[in-house]
Symmetry: C2
Subunit: 438 residues, 2 copies
Amino acid sequence: MSDSASGNPLRIGIAGLGTVGAGVLKLLTQQQDILAARAGVPLVVTAVSARNRQQDRGVEIDGYAWYDNCLDMAEADDVDVVVELIGGADGTAKVLVENAIAAGKHVVTANKALLAYHGQSIAESAEAKAVAVGFEAAVAGGVPVIKGLRDGLAANQVERIVAILNGTCNFVLGLMEEEEVSFEDAVREAQDVGFAEADPTTDIGGFDAAHKLSLLASIAFGTQVNLDAVLVKGIDSVAAEDIEAAKELGYRIKLIAVADRNGGHIIQRVHPALVPLEQPLAHVGGPGNSIVMQGDWVGTVEFGGPGAGEKPTASAVVADIVDIARGFQVPVFGTPAAQLTPAKSASEDNSLAPYYLRMELADKKGTASTMTGILAEHDISIETMIQKPEEDHELGANMPVIVVTYATRDTAIAKAIAEIEGAGILAGSPNVIRVESL
Amino acid sequence: MSDSASGNPLRIGIAGLGTVGAGVLKLLTQQQDILAARAGVPLVVTAVSARNRQQDRGVEIDGYAWYDNCLDMAEADDVDVVVELIGGADGTAKVLVENAIAAGKHVVTANKALLAYHGQSIAESAEAKAVAVGFEAAVAGGVPVIKGLRDGLAANQVERIVAILNGTCNFVLGLMEEEEVSFEDAVREAQDVGFAEADPTTDIGGFDAAHKLSLLASIAFGTQVNLDAVLVKGIDSVAAEDIEAAKELGYRIKLIAVADRNGGHIIQRVHPALVPLEQPLAHVGGPGNSIVMQGDWVGTVEFGGPGAGEKPTASAVVADIVDIARGFQVPVFGTPAAQLTPAKSASEDNSLAPYYLRMELADKKGTASTMTGILAEHDISIETMIQKPEEDHELGANMPVIVVTYATRDTAIAKAIAEIEGAGILAGSPNVIRVESL
Ligand SMILES: NC(=O)c1ccc[n+]([C@@H]2O[C@H](COP(=O)([O-])OP(=O)(O)OC[C@H]3O[C@@H](n4cnc5c(N)ncnc54)[C@H](OP(=O)(O)O)[C@@H]3O)[C@@H](O)[C@H]2O)c1
Ligand SMILES: NC(=O)c1ccc[n+]([C@@H]2O[C@H](COP(=O)([O-])OP(=O)(O)OC[C@H]3O[C@@H](n4cnc5c(N)ncnc54)[C@H](OP(=O)(O)O)[C@@H]3O)[C@@H](O)[C@H]2O)c1
């Protein structure tokens, strides 16, 4: 194996030459001089693999050994680091990473799905083989938050992370506000400009952010990656009316990812939230990512930048390769895999927060007073209530009402809403969104 | 020498037990379990030193070997890492660091002055001895920007850094705006609450920010640390009138530190600037720090958090100790010292920027037209001009005028201002502040 200690070049095999893979190849070529200086040894690509050798990737691939089957790369004598940029939680990507580790090769990957599902076993085998698994690119694209958390905040008990981790959702929510369009139209526009995939479910549904959050939580709390413990709600529940009402009330709706050390339990949740305009997270625009971390010694630290795209993601992948060339090797999640504790997942979040409720009160007498009465019974106080008929509101039509409560518990809100729904005073389902501050 | 490879504890000697040193001692004690897990070996303090052994430091020091002369620590057999927290560009701190390196010990320091003056020679000797010199705490306190830039952005040519690096100045400017007080009153208040030192010159004068900027620039551009190349102007030139006018015009005045790859020259400058309110840097409050970095692959990345104080600074110092325990060793400034190039310092910044000019026009006929005429002769166009007499303005009194120009060159402004001053139309000296965007 080659590393800085030996002075030999570090030999790299790249599996997957799509958006990120081709970017990595271009970067390694363009910056080879500064990379060699910083890494201490030349970084040399020796092998590449993808499905279709003929496809034009905007970068010359003739100079590298081509593997029709990328799994052969894991066995290649002239590959020190396997860079997995195929994607997918299972299938080829997983086998490639496992085989590479088994063969004593270092791994760099941008694959959050793979690590969210199999992070613990991958970390265990990598540590047993004393190889590195770098995944800076898997969370927040170009923003070096994995190193920032794992190395930069290594002296801290992390208390809480609140982040915007999915650029697609942030872009879509931004369009909904700026262009006053529906969720569906915003998604279509995001697809047109390349910020949403043809099948946007993984992003829109909050699953991609959940994958990323589960990795951050493991590093932050010294717990095993536990994707099942993440409560997930996507942005498809956010309507144009919510965006507008939030704005009027001094908030912006964001898909946020929260990991919280709540007593002995770790809370992990991804969902749309109303973020007060005073908070920096409210101002993360377009496809940007931002991560706010609170440590017991450092206080609150914030990282922000581009969360995806060819160039930022390649920047993060190559930074991991430089780490390996420099001989830097740490446990995959910062704490040795054998010492990571199971994340006791909380069934509910018992932290206090205000909630935003949007309801259509049915056209009957006393519906508003029934609704507020039920809230009061559950000790939920109302901070703001807006009852605003459409301009063309007709007598006898349903009445949209928006309530922002004072801080209360998740469970209280859930019970109150169930009771309100049962009381037959609503037309349609209410929309409930948590208000999140740091 | 002990490191993770050996499995033996990493033995630490702390020289200086003031704000930061005592904090480091407390942190190492409080977090010893998670630190051992993350570092791979226990981190054990074996020796401490300060001037006065009797002083109460809020932390027990009886369990450690006491050195009356901290220089003896550099020779101690049971010290693997010397943590220098004495301060000062020369004197004991310098000798201690040099001796520790010569004796083959790793060094961790929070001393930006020392590295700004002697960084190149310290890096050369550390690399010759294959020991680490960690200085995360020297720049932006708890914010892990050294690792973020050196490791996280290792794949990038950095194009530009714009940062707020001095918490004292940021706090003072914030007070001037919020409480509408004079510079002198704000400094006094900052001293009272512990955000400014008894002698605040190093902070207020911009020198501390210049020290920090020179270190960032070396890592960013692969150049030798060159403090002489930093153009420095402090915040003592900022008057209450400037703060007020900036606010009215949609800006906030900040002490900013800029490092720019301007063609073949590196520009480094620290000075007050008008930052547009749309920019995140305008919203860094209190003693906070923030660093915006632009790389050719990653795009724009931002880091923010507490720039000083016992706990954040100790967090950064201990993160460096963890790096050493993990066996992570890189050239001090990311690129080997022998390969760092001299920073060709630009005598002037030929980048374009708008400028803010505040002048008192003397009570004579035609002064305004003479002033605008001179600007026009130098191809400087006026974007906004506010001529606002005091409420109790008396006929015949001088007239305050504020001009914001369109983007122009430093040199053009300098010449125009000299001519305006020579024309005998001003009462007092004009105040010239650059407008800085990303
Ligand atoms: N795109 C981003 O901005 C971004 C950001 C962060 C993380 N990531 C992660 O990076 C990874 C790659 O994403 P991407 O956007 O680059 O995906 P992509 O553009 O779809 O590229 C996937 C690549 O994998 C190749 N491939 C598929 N199956 C293969 C197999 N069995 N053997 C060898 N190669 C195979 C494809 O080959 P062909 O080209 O021949 O079809 C293609 O080159 C994913 O894990 C993703 O989550 C992406
Ligand atoms: N304070 C911050 O927030 C902060 C933030 C970032 C970086 N830094 C840097 O951290 C360093 C330390 O700052 P600080 O605020 O902790 O300073 P400090 O409170 O003034 O402490 C300095 C310490 O050095 C000791 N000392 C002085 N001369 C000594 C000598 N010849 N031998 C041994 N010990 C000696 C003093 O001993 P006695 O206690 O016995 O007098 C004192 O304990 C400086 O380089 C500073 O720039 C500080």
